[in-house]
Amino acid sequence: MALADIRQRPGVLLGAAVLLHVVLISAQVNTASGLPVLQVVTFGSFAEVQRGTTAAFDSVRNLWSGYIALRHVNAENTALKHELQTLQVRLQEERALAQRTDSLRQLLELRERANLDTTAAEVIAAAASPEFRTVTIDKGTNEGLQTDMAVISPAGVVGRVILPSGRASKVQLLIDRNAAAGALIERTRVQGVVEGFGDGSLRLAYVPGTADVKSGDLVVTSGIDGIYPKGFVIGTIEQVERGASGYHQITVRPAVDFTRLEEVLIVRTPPASRDLPEGPR
């Protein structure tokens, strides 16, 4: 009956046969150290069981003391994290202060250079919609700001005020799809219009195909739009292609990093009465 039962389970029989063979082989084969494999394997296997048992026993024995120690460590860890956070905040404050000082120094230099009536403002918000490239500054009509006043930074032209309120204003950046500025190529004095493209780059339009234009040429404001003072840097020409309409298709890389705007200057001189400075700034 038992034999018939085993015959119904050939897998078990195979397992038993293989095991027997393995034991038989192990009993005859020595390891590199000269000990029988069977002995080494048996000892090794049992040693693992012993190791497991000892580990479990130790875990139980050390549970209470370990718990208390962990609580103490946890409290210490919390205090250290607190201290670290405080130090990190202080470091950031110091770093921000240094950057702000540097930024204000640059603005001051720009103001002295431009000889225009300007006021400094801080960028306090970006555009709520990604389709519009605008920022909000912390100065408004209370500080004499008006629509279409030019906004500049030490790096170059930023944009214009489009919506001033009492204590804040919305500034349309030059890279906005609806923004434009009169421009000229500094090297050849060829004029055109810089337009925002919405993707962070600018296009210099209406430059005749016969004009001398090269990549790397500096593009500055021409002042003919009545908004931006003449000679302020807009950017550098990145790519020039000959268009089908007889004009160059020129891509301009803005001089201002619009993703890192923090402080700007608003040119408070009314556009019409602006005494335009000579030469590039």
Binding site: I6, R7, P10, L13, L14, A17, V18, H21, V22, L24, I25, Q28, V29, A32, V37
Partner: protein, 168 residues
Amino acid sequence: MRTAAAAAAIVAALALQTTLAGVVIRGTAAIDLVLIVVVYIALKSGPVAGLIGGTAAGLIQDALSNPILGIGGLAKTIVGFLSGVLATQFILNGPLPRLVLLVMATFLHAAIFMGLYVLLDLRQFPDPLPSVVGQALGNGFVGVVGFQLVEWLPGFIDRRRAGRFLKR
């Protein structure tokens, strides 16, 4: 009766194998008659018979020739079992399927046998493929012919006896 026949076949194969041990090709036994018998037992009687036959034949073969008892036994045990399993799953009556089975069995046997020896660092088999291929083909050819003879012979004898009886 069947068990006795299987045991007798194993003993005969072992005797023949040890007798033919002198007849080798380039120092390598070209055929393994014991393996052929184990495969035949598995073909005819299933995996359990193949397993038991393989164990017995392999252990005796080990005892007679191999330094480690059990390595050949383990190889033949597994080969016998798997051959029996295949025989229950597929129709292996024709010469070609049997040839394929014998070739596969030889390769598996060699893999286990040589693998264990190498694993236990007992012996090395540099470039074993040519000898294994030769043995597989030899086993296949001898096995197929042998199987046909074994199956054809009883009927032939019966027919001759019947013929004599009718002549009388």
